[in-house]
């Protein structure tokens, strides 16, 4: 039996976070946690309150533990299934269409309550990929900028799957259903290569589902061509760690260093509890995140909803 993470000393917790900062992820096996224990552990690392105002009030958020989202193909509350349903999900980081510095939940936790042996989560580490580029390749990517926005099918494998997913609705009486966190207009853009606020190391922000515009050395370039370059540079076995989550596994992944894809969920037994959190309680504030972005998000959501 592995040591329970709920019994970690501060030193052991810090060592685990150090592994996370080096590898982009950390995995704990055979934990067998309650929801309360999971949230309590995550809060030792950071704030588990999701900055998206609708999260915490969805059918897949348990009322007693709204900081968790339940991922399953089975009914949750009045929803036909938990968050995202059974569909495959294309590579994405959980910042979604947020640009660098526009979201605070740098960590996603996935705790496995029940397993599907046929479902694989592939974790792509862009920090590792970038570190191993030639200097010429690094320089190329340092000159690329992108604008991210919600696109037709989002992170779902197909538009049909997106339309089929009824999970992104708020519980009865809650203020609103899930909204696109932010929308970028005109020439708003971000660098693809950024500096991680806690390690000072470079990584690449790629959200294949959300690249709306792209620039190289300030000039607009084809989105299709840059997506192809991203794919060839990043989607390689050496950059990717694959996981079948089994009962008691708890994976934490850094959303700046890694993006992830999920294959179809085949088994109704698969249940994952997902907290989103940050590093603030163990490493201090995120220097790249400006809380005032939340006002901009609110305004841009209102504008986007009218588009």
């Amino acid at each position: 039996m592995n040591k329970k993470i709920t019994e970690y000393t501060d030193k052991e917790l810090r060592e685990a976070v150090d592994v996370l900062l080096v590898n982009g992820h950390v995995m704990f096996h055979e934990q067998y946690l309650t929801q309360d224990e999971l949230i309590e552990f995550c809060r030792r690392i950071g704030d588990t309150n999701d900055s998206n105002p609708s999260m915490g009030h969805m059918e897949f958020n348990p009322k007693d533990n709204p900081d968790l989202s339940i991922i399953t193909t089975q009914p949750v509350g009045k929803s036909p299934h938990g968050m995202f349903g059974p569909t495959d999900l294309v590579y994405h980081g959980d910042g979604g269409m947020c640009h660098f510095g526009e979201f605070k939940e740098l960590l996603t936790g996935l705790y496995c309550v029940g397993s599907c042996p046929d479902t694989v989560l592939s974790l792509l580490n862009t920090n590792k990929a970038f570190t191993e580029f030639s200097e010429e390749e690094k320089e190329y990517w340092r000159n690329v900028e992108t604008q991210l926005n919600m696109k037709e099918k989002g992170i779902y494998g197909t538009i049909e799957e997106k339309n089929r997913d009824g999970s992104m609705k708020a519980i009865d009486g809650a203020q609103e259903a899930y909204k696109c966190p932010i929308y970028h207009y005109d020439d708003e853009r971000q660098n693809v290569v950024n500096i991680h606020p806690y390690t000072g190391k470079e990584f690449m922000l790629w959200q294949p589902a959300f690249v709306d515009k792209a620039w190289y050395k300030g000039e607009p370039i084809s989105v299709d061509e840059i997506q192809d370059k991203f794919r060839k540079a990043l989607v390689r076995g050496k950059n990717i760690t694959d996981f079948v989550l089994r009962e008691g596994d708890f994976l934490i992944c850094d959303q700046y260093y890694t993006l992830h894809r999920r294959s179809w969920v085949q088994s109704s037994d698969r249940v994952i509890w997902r907290p989103a959190f940050d590093y603030s309680n163990i490493l201090g504030p995120d220097s790249a995140y400006n809380p005032s972005i939340e006002d901009k998000k609110y305004i841009s959501r209102q504008k986007a909803n009218k588009v």
Binding site: N2, M27, H29, E30, D88, P117, D118, T119, V120, S122, V235, R236, G237, K238, I240, D242, F243, V244, L245, R246, G248, D249, R261, S263, W264, Q266
Partner: protein, 280 residues
């Protein structure tokens, strides 16, 4: 990316030792032709498969390769495969194994991002058990047979042979053995080259079981096996991407595969032994 086909003899010996020590090795971004792959594997050991080599999925020019693909004429189809190692129904009799394909090499020509191969290290899982549990397992024996679906999982549908453009060249095909009566083998065995004990589990193929000489029920035994071996800490999950090459020891590891969703997925599979490196 260093190409492993350029390994020196010394590196090749180290590679075989790594496979034995770790249960498997995995390399990325490798470029092999069929000829190069057989040559590479042949530097580790004999690639002459004593059962395959004459099937429609063995290219005539390179019969030591089996093409694993969901296409109807190719090996194993699209379905999920239950936990197994490639010894399948073969027993160990008087310390000698009934089969010689102790290593399996899988080289990825084309990928399916939704298909995962899980490789479990049943040696480490056994060696880390308390002594009392090890002793319990040392008294377990099983009889292995094809119980109907062999290693095929729940998504198995027999392929429509009429869709297959090629047929097997069966003239030298050797059928897997059928074990009768009380024929049996111990589940704890010693690796013929590595010398360490391991727990041999072929979940879909157990047809009888004994503990301390007395016949026992299979289902509770399967659950006990599962609790020991099917644990993430002993498992490496692998989605094959173009250029990936995995070589795994079939005594120290077993593997399962999820269903294939992309019909383009293609692996080249070579069965090997250690005869040209650490078992000379």
């Amino acid at each position: 990316m260093k190409q492993i086909k350029d390994f020196t003899d010394e590196e090749m010996l180290e590679e075989a030792t790594r496979i034995l020590n770790d249960g498997f090795t995995l390399y990325y971004d490798q470029e092999f032709t069929m000829g190069e792959l057989v040559e590479y594997c042949g530097r580790i050991g004999s690639t002459d498969d004593d059962m395959l080599g004459y099937m429609q999925f063995n290219p005539e020019e390179y019969p030591d390769i089996s093409i694993v693909s969901p296409k109807p004429e190719m090996l194993l189809g699209h379905c999920d495969l239950e936990w197994h190692s490639n010894g399948t129904v073969h027993h160990v009799v008087d310390g000698v194994w009934e089969h010689k394909e102790w290593l399996i090499c899988l080289y990825c020509v084309d990928t399916c991002p939704d298909t995962v191969l899980s490789v479990s290290n049943n040696r480490d899982a056994f060696l880390e058990l308390p002594e009392e549990e090890k002793d319990w397992w040392r008294k377990v024996e099983v009889q292995l047979n094809n119980n109907g679906g062999s290693i095929m999982g729940q998504y198995w549908n027999p392929p429509n042979k009429s869709d297959a453009p090629k047929t097997a060249r069966m003239e030298k095909y050797v059928q897997a053995p059928r074990h009768e009566g009380d024929e049996r083998m111990p589940v704890v065995n010693t690796h013929p080259v590595g010398g360490q004990e391991f727990l041999y589990w072929q979940p879909p193929l157990i047809s009888k079981a004994w503990h301390d000489g007395k016949e026992i029920e299979i289902e509770p035994l399967q659950k006990k096996f599962d609790a020991v071996i099917n644990r993430t800490k002993y498992i490496k999950d692998i989605v094959f991407r173009k250029g990936d090459i995995l070589i795994m020891d079939q005594f120290y590891t077993l593997h399962r595969r999820s269903p294939i969703l992309d019909k383009n997925r293609e692996l080249w599979r070579v069965a090997i032994d250690y005869k040209h490196t650490i078992d000379k």
